[in-house]
Structure formats: C-alpha cells, structure tokens
Amino acid sequence: MRRERIRRRAVLAVLAAASVGLMAVDAGEEPHPLTSAGRHAAAAAFAPVSEAASVVFRPVTGAAAAIAAAPGAERRIDELERRNSELAAELAARDLDDRRARDLEELLQLSGLGGYEMLPARSVTRVGTGGYADAVTLDVGTRDGVRPNMTVIEGGGLVGRVVRAAERTSTVLLISDGASSVGVRMESTGQIGAVHGRSHPLDSRAPAELELLRADAKIAEGDRIVTMGSHDGAPFVPGVPVGTVTEVRDTPGALTRTAEVRPMVDLDALDIVGVVLAAPEEDPRDAVLPSEPPTDAGRPPKEEQG
C-alpha cells in the first residue's frame, strides 16, 4: 500500500515536472525545436480529421451561428421568408461559389492596388482554446511558402498575422486578439500609433482600440487607419487598411490618445483571405483605401459585378 502510494506520487511528480518543463521551453520567443516538432507532427496528423470534421459539421456550425445571430435576425424574418422560396440547394451552392469569387476578386483588387504578392487561402477553423485566444487556421502552410510573421488580409483590409506555420496549415492571430498590436498611421494626418486587440471587451462592443502616441493628437469619428509597416515587411506590410474610428475616448491627463476602432474586415465571417508573401516595392500610403465618401468603408464601388 505504501509502495503504491509512493509510486503514484512519483508518476504525478514526473508528469507535472514534464509539463512545467514543456512550458518553460516553449515560453521563449523562438519556438523550441522539440515543441515545434511536436506541433508539426500533430498538425500533419490532424489536418485530414480537421477537414473531414469541417465538412461533416458544417450544418452544425451553421445552425449554431444562426442561433447566435437570432436576436438580430428577427427583423429580417419577413425578407428572408420571401427569399427562402427561391433558395434551392443548387442555388445555395452557386451563391457560395459566387461569394468566394467576389471575395477573391476584392482580394485581387486590393493586391493590385497595393502591389502585394499574395497567396489566397481559406480559413477553416475559428478558435478560442480556453476562451482567450482569437485566432483562425488557414488551409495553407509552409509547403505553400507561408512563414510566421506574414501579414494576412481580406478584400476590405487587415485580418492579422501568421503566428505559426505547419506544413499544411497555419495559425493566424486576428487583430482583435488581446495579444495583437499593430503599428498604424492615420489616413490623412499621418500621426502614428498602435491598434491593440481586445478579445473580451466588457465595457464596449469594439473589438480593437487605437492608441495614438501624442496626447493632443486630433482624431474624429470616421477617421480611417492604415498599417504603418514594419522592417522588411514583417509582421505587417505598409498601407493595408485596418479600420475606422467609431468612438473617441476623452481621457484628460492621459499620456496617449485612445479611441475605439471598427475593423474594415468582418472578423466573425472570414472565408477567403490572402497571405501576403512579399511586400510592395514602395509604400502605397493611402492608395489602398476605398475612395471617398467613406460611408460604406471597406467596400470598393463595384457592386454590380456580384
């Protein structure tokens, strides 16, 4: 009995020590070869399962999304009932194709405007392990040329950056994640600052927050923000639209100026996105932003094509 107790305490101690060791090894800036080898193996083994589950459970996730959107959807029930009669399964499939095509077209247009070299990808998983992280998985990986710290964009603007790349999948940290911080520049005035993510905004609905370095900086609602760009285009290439200021916070005495930001991209409905493989030759500055008036920000004026 005594030996049994000693044995199981030893097992517990060994396993706990192994976990703590893993954490210590993995907490550094550079990914440790041991844990990244483990992650790559796990990713390779899991990719087929993930894709199959994605196909099988699409109706389930669709239903859950519908339930989540129920309060807002009530207003649209009448309209949807009218449309419902037209929507056969065939049409639904074609609609999906059309939407993807439009997403791609917008992406290509953005890439053409900014001069980015880009790899299109589909986002397969939206995650929140433990309820904190705000990240998505893409179906492209190192074999397609994706590396960590590459910028990820959608037709409208910035989505986030690649934090991990396995052989066939990669993980993207969204700009709304609490750990995300993007160096930005205001569209017209050129003032610089940073956009921080806030995964769990308790006091407001904005998923991100702008912080300008100067306390007397002038910002107003509707001002638009583009990325400032980083050294060698990693992790963020310059000139990508980030979002629009929705509410300026008045905090007298604060050292910096803060405002709430609505991202250009609907981060809850990501489908086709692009990984920027190479930065443009020269900074596109504000060229990528859609033309005025900014009432319908994030959508270039080419609605007839869809």
């Binding site: 044995r7 199981r8 097992v11 517990l12 396993l15 706990a16 192994a18 976990s19 703590v20 060791g21 893993l22 954490m23 090894v25 993995d26 907490a27 844990t35 483990g38 992650r39 193996a41 796990a42 990713a43 899991f46 399962v49 993930s50 589950a53 994605s54 459970f57 389930v60 996730t61 859950a64 999304a65 989540a68 998983t125 939206r126 995650v127 929140g128 392990t129 433990g130 309820g131 904190y132 992280a133 705000d134 990240a135 998505v136 998985t137 934090v163 991990r164 396995a166 999948t169 993980t171 940290l173 994640d177 609490g178 750990a179 995964s199 769990h200 308790l202 809850d268």
Partner: protein, 184 residues
C-alpha cells in the same frame, strides 16, 4: 478492456473538442470543455497514477493540436492534476449523480482558474483580471451545460464495465482467458 474503452473515449473527446467544439461560433468565446468531462468520468473509474497519465496525454494533445496558441504543457499540467485529484479524492463521492456533477464542476472551475493563473505567471497579455473574471465563469457554465450529455453516458459506460468485471453480470460472452487478461 476498461482501459481500452477509456482510451477510445479520451481520443474521441479530444477530436470532438478540437475538431468540433472549438470551432462552433459560440457567443462571447465561452467554450465547453468536453475533454475535461470525459477525463473526470475516466478518472472516477481508474487509479490515480493512470488517471494522471491519461490527463497528461490528452492535455498534451490539446496543447499541440492546431490551432492551439499557448505554450505547450499548460493543459497537460492542469489535466494531469485534475486526473490525479479526481481519482484520489473524488472516487468516494461517486455514489450519487449530483456528486459527480459537483466533482466535474469543481474540476472545471479548477482548470479554468489554473489556466488563467498559468497565463498570468507566463505573462500572457491576453489574460487580465477583466478577461479572466469573464472567461472563468463562462467556461465553467458552458462545460456544466454539456455535462449531462458527455459526463453521464461516459460514466455509465465505464460503470457498466466495472460491474461486469466484479460480479460477472453483463452480456453472455464466453470468458476468454489469455494470460493475465483480467487485469484490464
């Protein structure tokens, strides 16, 4: 036999968690912890060392499978402790169904708090007081909401295997005696 069933249950739970539950667009990011529920059921029917090892294994899987974005080892440590403690101290409480839910709730609360504390210790910028004050109760609540459909069936299956072993009831299967096979 019981050990094999436990392993299958845990693998299924990990796949369910990473492949399905984590990708549901749940409001406010409150994700139920399916792995924890199955682990509690398994730990209630196995020894502390085995339960700790099982917890470590599935925690490591959750840590490494994409798109996990935290240091590997966080869930491994937490699930390992959960397995050990539930098996060591929870088994005497196993008499009633309510006590089992209580054990699961305590384990879920401990895991959520532990995850937040580990995040704070490792200086994870996502884990602050506000985020943890929201995420911990939300995770426990979501986990307990799915407990009746995960914990209860898994626990019942394992209990059935237990009773089969001890009093010889169960389906009329001819006993197969392969050297030392009864140790399960």
């Amino acid at each position: 036999m019981k050990r094999a069933v436990s392993a299958v249950l845990l693998v299924a739970a990990v796949l369910l968690q990473v492949g399905v539950v984590d990708r549901l667009p749940l409001p406010w990011g409150a994700v139920p912890d399916a792995v924890l529920l199955v682990l509690v059921a398994v730990a209630l029917h196995s020894g502390p060392a085995g339960a700790a090892a099982a917890g470590f294994a599935c925690g490591l899987a959750v840590d490494l499978l994409p798109p996990a974005d935290h240091e590997a080892g966080r869930f491994a440590l937490l699930y390992c402790l959960v397995g050990y403690l539930v098996s060591r101290h929870g088994r005497s409480e196993v008499r009633s169904a309510w006590a089992r839910y209580g054990v699961a709730a305590a384990a879920s609360l401990g895991t959520a708090v532990g995850f937040a504390l580990l995040g704070a210790v490792l200086a994870d910028p996502r884990v602050g007081w506000a985020a943890a004050a929201f995420a911990v109760p939300a995770t426990v609540l979501a986990t307990m909401l799915v407990a009746p459909v995960l914990l209860a069936p898994a626990e019942r299956l394992l209990r059935l295997l237990d009773s089969e072993r001890y009093d010889g009831l169960g389906p009329p299967v001819a006993p197969v005696r392969i050297g030392g096979g009864w140790r399960g």
